[in-house]
Symmetry: C2
Subunit: 656 residues, 2 copies
């Protein structure tokens, strides 16, 4: 009984196999029909219209959800949308404030010397740096969505601004006009940043690739360091150029003048002190406070030393007068009838992108550590409005600083309140302490800025980029040397150009690869990537090594395929003494798109293959590709030899 049931099962299984085989051919036809009768893909016009529609519906939904609420909650939710502080501020606690207060004081102690130094780097009076550390952090604190970013003047932006604006107006002969242009550039940068955010152009920030940023920042750090040689060595006649050759020449020439080593000794000794405390702070977490107060200690001690020894009369360069008081209004200084207004707008655009790149990338990396998402477009609007209002209150371009954000995070900040604490501290200093800054040696400012630079030169990351991607490294290398030997803008241009050239080269790279069947699967893969893949006799399966079959590579690909087939056949000739290949399958699964030149070259390929008695088949075409092949009647030309998989295309050969 048992055996007869076994037999029945067995028979039914045998029958099943027969039916399966009969069905398989029909299934295949059905599946080919799936490929051929796919719904029409949305046209580019459709895609654009759709995205506009979605945006409108999203806005409408938001408004309709608002309409349901009462007037007060409505107002509150709108305000909270604009000022996130109203949201997180309600759950703010004293414990959080204690942390923020300490972090705010820590970054303020770093911020004051850096602001003075960066303003000097931007060829502005020191107070402009301090102004930029007051208003922008306050505005960002109520509008921003990051929790760690420390807003204020930053080195790269200061350098970029000065190197571009000084081509229009000389800061030494005409400082007033120069300052006006800087403020105008700040306004433009703010407007561009707000517009980027408003029109959801967040992707613009991504146009500087990670590799390019690594190279660019390292180059900028060295250039900034070189600029500090002026303060550190106490040089009077310095160059306004930023490339390494001009600066080294200026330094070399300064040695011919009578030179006062006091500046250098003072600066170096405090640089050693700051770096030592930093290393100590890194090794022992408990000593972190030492590293964070060392800049403040350096300033106080050095200022006292100079004041008491009257070293300024012996040639030690000091900061001298810093204009105190609140940020004055600068609306009347924004002159749109300036002859350079077009140039300044361009500068504003470049600065806007670079500043956003720094801020968004630093914000993102800390957000990812703390496990929350930073919304790029929202951030852009916040930074943009910060700069617009900044330009009305004597501030130049502010953005999230690499070094101070890191200190802010390490000092345990909880929210943007640390920025408010910092701004108030700087404000108090501006009001009451500028006279005390009079005797601060410039060498100390230089050494504080220098001490922040090593963190910007990331050799490990550059090595990693080299290991992973040689072309990416080229972009990194180009940006680095462009900044170092030419100028900051040239470095940027080089980096962006290499990055995009790389995209074009990879996309239109005209290579093909032959596929073989992986043993035990229905999968066809590159025979070089998988040496165990076996080629099918009589069939050549080809995949194009790029995502586009377009004007730039179509002819090349066609010629390669014809050459390849001829070669394979001559190999076959040697073995079997007759031609054997009669089916060429193109696996188009990775082909994202095709253009009219691509279709034309496929048609020519089909013609030249069929004139030699060979057939062309297409396997697994994607949506856009099958649609275009259908519309252009290519499918009927190859008598519907389009299959869902390579396997089925091979099956076609055995059936015919």
């Amino acid at each position: 009984m048992a055996s007869s049931r076994d037999m029945e099962t067995c028979k039914s299984e045998h029958m099943q196999v027969d039916i399966d085989q009969k069905n398989s051919f029909q299934d295949k036809i059905v599946r080919s029909q799936w490929v051929l009768n796919a719904p029409e893909p949305p046209s580019p016009l459709h895609v654009v219209a759709d995205s506009v529609k979605k945006t409108i519906s999203r806005v409408r939904k938001r408004f309709s959800s608002m309409a349901d609420q009462s007037c007060t909650t409505l107002l509150l939710s709108v305000l909270q949308g604009i000022f996130p502080i109203l949201g997180w501020g309600r759950s703010y606690t004293v414990a959080k404030f204690r942390k923020d207060f300490l972090a705010g004081l820590t970054i303020a102690s770093l911020c004051i010397p850096q602001s003075i130094g960066y303003a000097t780097l931007a060829h502005l009076d020191p107070e402009y740096g301090l102004y930029t550390s007051v208003v922008p952090p306050l505005i960002y604190a109520v509008m921003g969505t990051s929790r760690e970013i420390a807003i204020g003047p930053v080195a790269v932006v200061s350098l970029l601004l000065s190197s571009m604006v000084q081509k229009l107006v000389d800061p030494t002969t005409n400082p007033l006009a120069y300052t006006k242009l800087i403020l105008l550039a700040t306004l433009f940068a703010g407007i561009f940043q707000t517009a980027f955010g408003f029109f959801r152009l967040g992707f613009l920030v991504d146009f500087l690739s990670h590799a390019a940023i690594v190279g660019f920042v390292a180059g900028a750090a060295i250039v900034i360091g070189l600029q500090q040689l002026k303060g550190l060595l106490g040089i009077t006649h310095f160059t306004t150029k930023t490339d390494i050759i001009s600066v080294m020449k200026a330094v070399w020439e300064s040695f011919h003048d009578p030179w006062n080593p006091r500046n250098f000794i003072l600066g170096c000794s405090f640089l050693v002190f700051i770096l030592t405390t930093r290393i100590l702070g890194k090794k022992k977490k408990k000593l972190f406070w030492l590293a964070s107060i060392s800049p403040l200690v350096s300033i106080i001690v050095s200022t006292l030393v100079v004041y008491l020894t009257q070293a300024d009369k012996d040639g030690v360069k000091i900061v001298k007068h810093v204009k105190g008081g609140l940020n004055p209004s600068s609306i009347h200084q924004l002159d749109f009838n300036n002859p350079y207004v077009g140039e300044v707008a361009k500068i504003g655009l470049v600065v806007a992108i670079v500043a956003l790149t720094e801020s968004v990338s630093v914000g993102r990396s800390f957000a990812s550590i703390k496990g929350y998402q930073l919304e790029g477009n929202r951030e852009m609007v916040s930074i943009g409005l910060t700069n617009i209002i900044g330009s009305f209150t004597s501030c130049y371009v502010a953005t999230g600083s690499f070094s101070r954000t890191a200190v802010n995070y390490a000092a345990g900040c909880e929210t943007l309140v640390s920025n408010i604490v910092m701004a108030i501290t700087v404000l108090i200093s501006l009001q009451f302490l500028t006279k005390l800054l009079y005797y601060t040696p410039t060498a100390i400012i230089a050494s504080i800025i220098l001490s922040a630079l090593p963190g910007l030169i990331d050799i490990n990351e550059a090595y990693k980029i080299w290991k992973v991607d040689k072309l990416d490294f080229l972009a990194c290398f180009g940006a680095f040397f462009g900044v170092l030997f030419a100028s900051v803008e040239i470095g940027l241009i080089v980096a962006v150009t290499i990055s995009f050239a790389k995209i074009v080269i990879i996309s239109i790279r005209p290579g093909i690869e032959t596929l073989g069947k992986l043993p035990g699967t229905d999968l066809f893969c590159d025979v070089y990537q998988y040496p165990m893949a076996a080629q099918i006799p009589g069939v050549v399966i080809i995949r194009i090594k790029s995502a586009l079959l377009c004007f730039a590579n179509a002819n090349f690909v066609r010629e390669r395929i014809v050459k390849w087939v001829t070669q394979e056949e001559s190999k076959g000739d040697m073995k079997h003494s007759r031609s054997t290949i009669n089916l060429i399958i193109i696996d188009t699964s990775n082909l994202v798109n095709i253009d009219t030149s691509g279709i034309a070259s496929l048609e020519e390929l089909h013609k030249s293959l069929s004139s030699h008695g060979k057939q062309l088949a297409i396997a697994n075409p994607r949506w856009q590709v099958i649609h275009k092949l259908k519309v252009s009647n290519f499918i009927t030309k190859i008598s519907d030899r389009v299959f869902l998989t390579v396997e089925e295309a091979i099956g076609y050969k055995t059936e015919c």
Copy 2:
């Protein structure tokens, strides 16, 4: 007996199934190892070195194969390599010559008026057009590999040359200096063309996409037609600008002058005659001879009419004196100390590419009709040397002409001997018949050129491009209107810019698509392309809609995936009231490459997914991608969740 054998088979099959199931898990591990332990892909440096090595070995092989031959055969094979005529000339027959002779005379009768007209278009004396129809065809005939191309001056190149060179020197006030610059540009174009061929840069010709060429040629045809209004209407004061607005303005202004309608009537009546014979010739193949002799007939009849009626004294414009005789040497006219030599070299480069594009594309299309391959690099060297020698013998840039090649083919040419026949015919005309050309009305020249233009405006092709690819149509449209409303160069620049921008946009397009399983297969496809594809519960399978995960799209893609997963989960929430997705599979089969930004964003994606208790898996990575993921240690971070297929990645979930 039979039944017991059946049972045994059945049992063994059952056992087989068990073993299969046991093996399948091990197989899967083995297959994952295939992915992970693929050999290292060649680095970019390696690829370059390899291609250099291959070229060297090919040259060496050719030389070593030569070394085996005797001295005479060696010499012969070298000569035959340089001059293909020595190869096909040996099997040349009288029957072939009869056909070539007739075709040669046919194209000569078209060539003489066209040469005169195109020289006028290039602001040169008419004889330069005729010179260019003598030496270049002879040289190309012994060096070229196409069988149908008719070499000589062409309309687009004449227009391009004049529009660019007249910016440097005015042809009306300083015709001698202008002619010198044209000859120098010809030499540069020849040198560039030869260099392109020599360094195998054939792909440069492909940088003008098919769509751009269609638009560009149509725009140029209209511009050339507009230029003929000068001859057709007998206008004395015409503009040197080529855009439609300037030309229409010049025509409008000319109506204010006393106007002689005789030119127009004469030109139009012969234009109607030529077009009628052409339509007749197309309808009835037997009447082809009528179409081919109609230009010659027009010239003879109109010249006679003018001569007999002395219509030139009544205001009919005539060609007047054409300098006869052989091509004079022009070596002494090539002045490299010219202040514009850099500009002229640039013009030479642009003209070289445009001329090659016309020649190679016309050669290819006729070669494909006759079923042979045209070798692009070889063709470039031939055309280049033709132009270099041409520049020494008072010729300007020659290339394969669209219209005359078509006539040559239709007239039944067999080999390049038809070019030799044409050249000799033009030479005889130059020697003996230039006096007869004196009374030829310029309106007839204009009408012959006009009659060739409709063939260049391919509305059907433009419609086809619109149907197949909207962005391609944009390039076509841009080129057309650029040429028409701005200038020939601007049209070219617009076309190339749009074409490359399209490549960048498609390559970095930051979209993702969800995949579902096709019923009855192991295949996972886009759920929109295949509506029957079923999604797997608890798993999201995502494919990136571009071939590169790079700096320009990586962040966007990451944000999209996170958003998508959140959305899918909230949908799941509504149905099952709890979160269900715990595996996100990225199918990377279409990802050709990834860069460091792409890897960084994958790492962030992994981090943010695993913080929500979800796992990330990679399926079917390609060679470069898996290599880079391995080198950057990303694979170990996702604990080796890399699979050969999506199916196996899903299997992983059920196993765990």
